[in-house]
């Protein structure tokens, strides 16, 4: 496989720069909150700057080729190397993780959740960023696994320390569930390593040799990876950690979780499981597609049953990731490109929804839908941003969500050769039904919380003791949200900004299927 090795320092710098920030934070005294915030902010700005530079240096004409490739010996004993690279699939997610972290840091300047301690909070966030970015550039399974696990711990603490009332349960559930998936994934990785001759953990090597494995071996190895990634996505029926984690996590945690962490799973399918084990992917595809559409409907029904705004948004992730998985399960470049687009779009939109939920919670001290109402009247900007995000989330054409959802539905009409068309066409219709339910739960939510008159308990503008309770969107929120809002609109109107990067890379990933 052809690779570009220019500027190979760039990815390492972009990935590990946040850790440098963490080191700096360690020497800043805990009481000096202003300095802590500054360090965190500048670190994340610098990280995004490196990301922007990467965008500039990225050869968009060769988006299907691995670029900035760097390969160093790392653990020769187990033939694992420090092997990184970036192509059109990784780039959007890699860059998105940097931007989301920056926006979350900006948001946190004004919104440190209880019990405070910004030093620890920002440090964890930056460690998290290294883990996320690393996962998207790793080209070695062990390296991938290390980064994949690296995100787990900071998120565990973020939920467990800064979370809501039931945080202990939620954080432990999140940690154990993901750990369980990871363990099976590791089993699969090891099995794959041994079955391909114990030569290398490098993904390109495994892509080359994985296809030669016997079909039933592939199927078993795929099963391990499937559980590992499916828990992370999360796919029905492995999703039950998600609503709890989201509901209990602080706003920042929810945003990162929705925007990036969930994508680690889907990315794993696209980057590792499917290209390495094409035969198994074909055998598994109908089941993955089936679970995906169950997830779409089931997630939507779950949403309709919710009484808590944040939990509703969490369940909507299950439904949206169902569309992504449906696209992937078609094993066509059409579906997979749509899925990749859907991942980024979901990151932007659901991230935005969680931001809004966080701000609603901060002002009303509740997210109980029945107690909310008339947000548009009290805080018109916040209300309209919520409306915009809901519209984007339900897949309105012209906004980013549409380009993940519609082509994914479309692709199910004609799955890859060898897959049962009738089955996938049934999936298509069910998924289309899911878009109706999405409109139902999102607009119903919007109608109940934003329209109408504010409920009497909140109508007085905070009962006098808290005059600032119902201030509209403040400047930190504007800074953190505007880029997301603009991105949702721009990618909706000019989707090719992303498609032209994703498409060639997806073609390369699927090249094993055409031969």
């Amino acid at each position: 496989m052809e690779m570009l090795r220019d500027h190979n320092w760039m990815l390492s710098v972009g990935t590990f720069l946040p850790l440098l920030g963490v080191l700096l934070l360690l020497v800043v005294p805990k009481a000096n909150e202003q300095l802590i915030k500054k360090v965190a902010l500048f670190t994340s700005i610098a990280t995004v700057a490196v990301g922007v530079w990467t965008l500039f240096r990225f050869d968009f004409g060769n988006a299907g080729t691995m670029q900035f490739v760097d390969e160093k010996t790392w653990i020769p004993l187990i033939k694992s190397s420090y092997y990184i690279g970036l192509d059109g699939i990784s780039l959007p997610l890699y860059f998105l993780s940097m931007v989301i972290t920056l926006l979350v840091v900006i948001y946190s300047l004004d919104h440190i959740p209880s019990p405070g301690n910004p030093k620890a909070f920002f440090s964890l966030m930056l460690v998290l960023q290294t883990g996320m970015a690393g996962t998207f550039i790793a080209q070695d399974l062990i390296l991938f696994f290390v980064f994949f696990e690296l995100v787990l711990l900071p998120m565990y603490f973020m939920i467990g320390v800064w979370g809501g009332e039931n945080r202990q349960y939620a954080s432990l559930k999140f940690f154990l569930y993901t750990m369980f998936g990871s363990a099976l994934m590791l089993v699969a990785f090891l099995a794959l390593f041994f079955k391909t001759g114990a030569e290398s953990f490098a993904i390109p090597y495994l892509v080359e040799h994985g296809g030669a494995l016997a079909k039933n071996v592939q199927i078993w190895i795929f099963a391990g990876m499937f559980i590992g990634f499916a828990v992370k996505v999360p796919m029905f029926p492995f999703h039950t950690w998600l609503p709890d984690a989201h509901t209990q996590a602080p706003t920042q945690g929810s945003v990162i979780l929705a925007a990036i962490l969930l994508k680690l799973g889907t990315y794993g399918f696209v980057r590792i499981a499917i290209p390495v084990l094409p035969e198994a992917a074909k055998a598994w595809a109908p089941y993955i597609g089936g679970l995906a559409v169950i997830g779409i409907i089931y997630g939507a029904l779950g949403c309709l049953a919710q009484t808590d705004m944040k939990r509703l948004i969490a369940f909507s992730s299950v439904a949206h990731m169902g569309f992504v998985m449906l696209g992937i399960s078609t094993l066509t470049s059409f579906g997979m490109t749509a899925a990749m687009f859907g991942m980024v779009a979901h990151g932007l939109i659901t991230g935005m929804l969680f931001f809004v939920a966080g701000s609603v919670k901060e002002r009303y001290h509740t997210l109980e839908i029945a107690r909310l109402g008339g947000i548009l009247k009290q805080m018109p900007h916040l209300g309209w941003i919520l409306g915009f995000s809901c519209m984007a989330s339900l897949g309105l054409p012209g906004l980013a969500g549409f380009w993940g959802e519609f082509p994914a539905i479309l692709s199910a009409y004609s799955p890859a050769a060898g897959l049962n068309e009738t089955v996938f066409r049934v999936y298509m219709v069910i998924a289309a039904l899911g878009t109706v339910l999405a409109a139902a739960y999102l607009l119903w939510l919007f109608q109940r919380v934003a329209f109408g008159e504010p409920k009497p308990e909140f109508a007085g503008g905070g009962h006098g003791h808290d005059d600032h309770a119902f201030h509209d969107v403040n400047k930190f929120e504007w800074f953190a949200w505007t880029p997301l809002l603009i991105a949702i609109l721009v990618f909706g109107v000019v989707p090719n900004l992303m498609f032209k990067v994703l498409d060639p890379a997806v073609q390369v990933v699927l090249s094993g299927f055409k031969g």
Partner: protein, 775 residues
């Protein structure tokens, strides 16, 4: 059969035709300007809205002129190729997809209508919503709404079509729910969006199916993708499509049209949508949004033509739905007291005519009916708004707050009557030329039963409009029109709004008019009324079949000619390389193979349709029916409402059959009850609850059981192996077993590493096992 190519002319084009894509772009930009800066502008953004719509109107007008030139520059039997321009928009699977315009006669006529009505409605709104609390938002949404409709009309591909379609859905949500403080309004908005969205499922499925079914053919023959509307049209007539696929796709697309155009059984959202401000009703629910579904059928006509075998034997899905809609909606209009709801059901019924026409092969009359209906229905809605604004204290209740208004509101009254006569189809008003053509052609194409339904509908239309006119303008002034003040009407947000009694509640002049009684509205309201009434009177002459072929201008300009076209170069969608090989013409009308057989060479973009020759004898029959409807209804109304004839008053309470019928109508055939109380409640209630119960109890239950079991197991290992075997002397295992029953609840983080270690060791063992088994 093939004539020499010299008979073909090079078609003229022009700047405005080439740049028709600007028509939706201008209001779209206007929307952003209003949203971002509207509140700071001197007229709060309304000037931007009005200006952008006016620009669109000018552009659309010039485009129409150049289109007419283009038609005239072609030979008599030459296919007038649409003016197509495309740009790359997105790519996927190595294929590039385009966005662009395709301007033909259908696009031009609808562009002009939409831009014209939008401009008038915006002018009207500057007066009607003066001082409204969300004046700027209102204009923003109104402008974006028009942009959506215009984008849909110029669309070259189904994706842009979908985009415009959905933007209209969004804006209708914003506009219907404009006064969202009131729960009834926001529920109506939700209902409108949700019902339409249910239909949209069909659009998604239909577009997907058409893409995959046609993409290969269109790429090979025309060099366009399976999203291109032209491509799909040609493919549908090529004899290539599998009949099942195209039938299913047509059904799916038609479901979308049912939702959007308020056809039975998804019509229930339209009357509720009257909760929006009246200009919104006028724009969305008479001439633009609800027309989108009809436009979809007219736009992709070859697909429906082939899919449903239009002109084949017997009725088809479209005619059946259209026919049912005409009658059931007209029946509902009789029991409404709200003037806007009468108009709403009338719209539903008229849309039924358009659908019926399309389903029965009367493409041109149906499209012409879109054109004429837009003027008189917009006029009627704006007239109703004028009454509520200036005479009835924002009430729309005809029985309670209107009556005898003809003297105080002469302009509103005159324009109303003209539009009513146009709607009823009285000669020489515009509705006659379009509606009668539909009925006539439906019969001519062999759908006798549906022709009778059309005539029954015409009778009912005349009757319910006479009733509404009588209640509003004749008889004695009642309620607010008589100068009575009901203060409850100013109580804009009283939750006691019932759905039969909607009000346009403004903030502004709640008390402004209380001191003087009913009066005529200001010029910004009456000017649009007069302009629309003039068109309601005269626009029918643009296709006046009774006066001979010279008068059939719309037919010449708009109807695509069913000619076989040789596309010279696949890959070049340009208009210049389109050559047409017309078939031999005999005596004016010739038979093109398009639609009936597979073209041997070249492609068809439109099926060959028939036109019924106009006969006064048939027209006299339908005119007689209309006059009978008017006369009977007038007599009935006078007896019931003014003379209070004892035989009639309370008749529906005394007679069991009539009571049952009346209840059925008042309850809207119980369809709302079915949707809201049965389907929606079931999904949002027990079904969703069951899914969630499954989530919390079954899935999490399994999880908790596993967790509990592994805790117990690790506790056992710890107690029996670690403590007894490994370290038998020390026995202080109390701590570890404490709280073993509490599922996953509070655990110190130290336990996490225990679980982690356990899982990892299990993983390592499993990996070894797997390797051993498979080696």
């Amino acid at each position: 059969m093939i004539r020499s190519a010299e008979a073909l002319q090079t078609l003229s084009s022009g700047w405005f035709l080439e740049h028709a894509w600007l028509i939706p772009i201008v209001p779209a930009i206007g929307f952003f300007i209003i949203i971002l800066f509207g509140k700071k502008l001197p007229m709060k953004g309304s000037e931007i809205g009005l200006l952008s719509m006016l620009s669109s109107l000018v552009l659309a007008g010039e485009t129409a002129m150049q289109w007419i030139d283009r038609v005239n520059s072609g030979a008599e039997a030459q296919f007038i190729a649409p003016v197509v321009r495309t740009w790359n928009w997105w790519q996927i699977g190595g294929m590039k997809f385009t966005i662009g315009q395709s301007i033909d006669g259908l696009a031009v006529i609808v562009l002009v209508v939409v831009a014209f009505i939008s401009t008038l409605v915006q002018l009207y709104s500057t007066e009607y919503l003066k001082g409204d609390r969300r004046y700027t938002h209102f204009f923003a949404a109104l402008t974006l709404f028009s942009a959506g409709m215009l984008a849909m009309v110029v669309a070259e591909d189904t994706i842009l079509f979908l985009l415009g379609w959905e933007i209209m859905g969004l804006c209708s949500f914003m506009l219907i729910g404009h006064w969202w403080e009131d729960g009834a309004n926001s529920r109506a908005a939700l209902k409108a969006f949700f019902t339409v969205r249910t239909g949209d499922m069909g659009l998604l499925v239909g577009v997907a199916m058409l893409y995959f079914a046609s993409n290969e053919w269109t790429t090979e023959h025309l060099g366009v993708s399976g999203f291109s509307i032209r491509g799909i049209s040609a493919w549908a007539l090529s004899g290539e499509p599998n009949s099942t696929v195209i039938l299913v796709a047509s059904v799916a697309l038609f479901i979308a049209a049912i939702g959007k155009s308020g056809q039975f059984p998804l019509h229930t959202w339209l009357p509720d949508a009257m909760a929006g401000p009246t200009p919104v009703s006028s724009l969305l629910h008479s001439s633009t949004m609800v027309v989108a579904g009809v436009f979809l059928v007219a736009r992709l006509y070859p697909v429906f033509f082939t899919g449903f075998d239009i002109l084949g034997t017997g009725g088809n899905f479209i005619t059946i739905i259209g026919g049912i809609t005409i009658v059931i909606a007209a029946a509902l209009a009789f029991v409404q007291n709200d003037i806007k709801k009468v108009l709403a059901y009338s719209t539903v019924s008229q849309l039924g005519y358009m659908m019926l026409g399309l389903g029965a092969g009367a493409w041109l009359p149906a499209v012409f009916h879109i054109f004429t209906h837009a003027f008189f229905k917009a006029c009627l809605f704006l007239g109703a708004g004028s009454i509520s604004h200036s005479a009835s204290h924002h009430s729309f209740d005809m029985k309670k707050d209107m009556g005898g208004l003809r003297k105080v509101m002469p302009i509103t009254f005159t324009t109303w009557v003209i539009s009513t006569l146009a709607l009823c189809g009285v000669f020489p008003f515009s509705g006659f030329f379009s509606k009668d053509e539909i009925i006539d052609n439906v019969g001519h194409n062999g759908y006798q039963l549906f022709m009778i339904i059309g005539l029954i509908g015409a009778f009912m239309t005349a009757a319910y409009m006479t009733r509404a006119t009588y209640l509003t303008f004749f008889g004695e002034a009642r309620g607010a029109s008589a100068g009575e003040h009901h203060d409850e009407h100013h109580d804009a947000h009283a939750p006691a709004h019932d759905s039969h009694d909607s009000h346009d509640a403004h903030d502004a002049h709640a008390t402004e008019h209380t001191d003087h009684g009913p009066h005529e509205s200001g010029w910004r309201i009456t000017l649009p009324l007069v302009l629309l009434a003039v068109l309601a009177l005269s626009s029918g002459l643009l296709n006046a079949t009774p006066f001979g072929e010279k008068w059939e201008r719309i037919k010449t300009w708009v109807e695509p000619r069913a000619e076989v076209v040789m596309e010279t170069a696949p890959g070049g969608p340009g208009h210049s390389n389109v050559l047409s090989i017309p078939t031999a013409a005999e005596e004016g009308h010739h038979d093109s193979p398009c639609g009936s057989e597979t073209p041997e060479e070249g492609v068809c973009y439109a099926p060959q349709l028939q036109h019924a020759p106009f006969k006064w004898s048939k027209a006299m029959l339908s005119l007689g029916i209309v006059f009978l409807g008017i006369a009977l209804s007038w007599l009935f109304s006078t007896l019931l409402y003014t003379r209070k004839d004892k035989r009639l008053v309370g008749l529906t309470e005394r007679n069991g059959v009539l009571r049952a019928g009346c209840n059925l109508l008042i309850n809207k055939y119980y369809l709302d009850a079915l949707y809201e109380n049965v389907i929606v409640k079931a999904i949002a209630g027990p079904i969703a609850a069951a899914a969630y119960w499954f989530n919390q109890n079954v899935l999490d239950g399994i999880l908790h059981a596993v967790a509990r079991a592994s805790r117990a197991f690790s506790g056992w290992v710890y107690r029996n192996i670690d403590q007894r075997v490994v370290d038998g002397t020390v026995n202080n295992s109390g701590k570890a077993t404490k709280g073993a029953g509490g599922v996953l609840a509070p655990v110190q983080s130290g336990k996490v590493s225990q679980y982690g270690a356990l899982l990892f060791s299990a993983a390592a063992v499993a990996a070894l096992v797997l390797v051993i088994i498979n080696s």
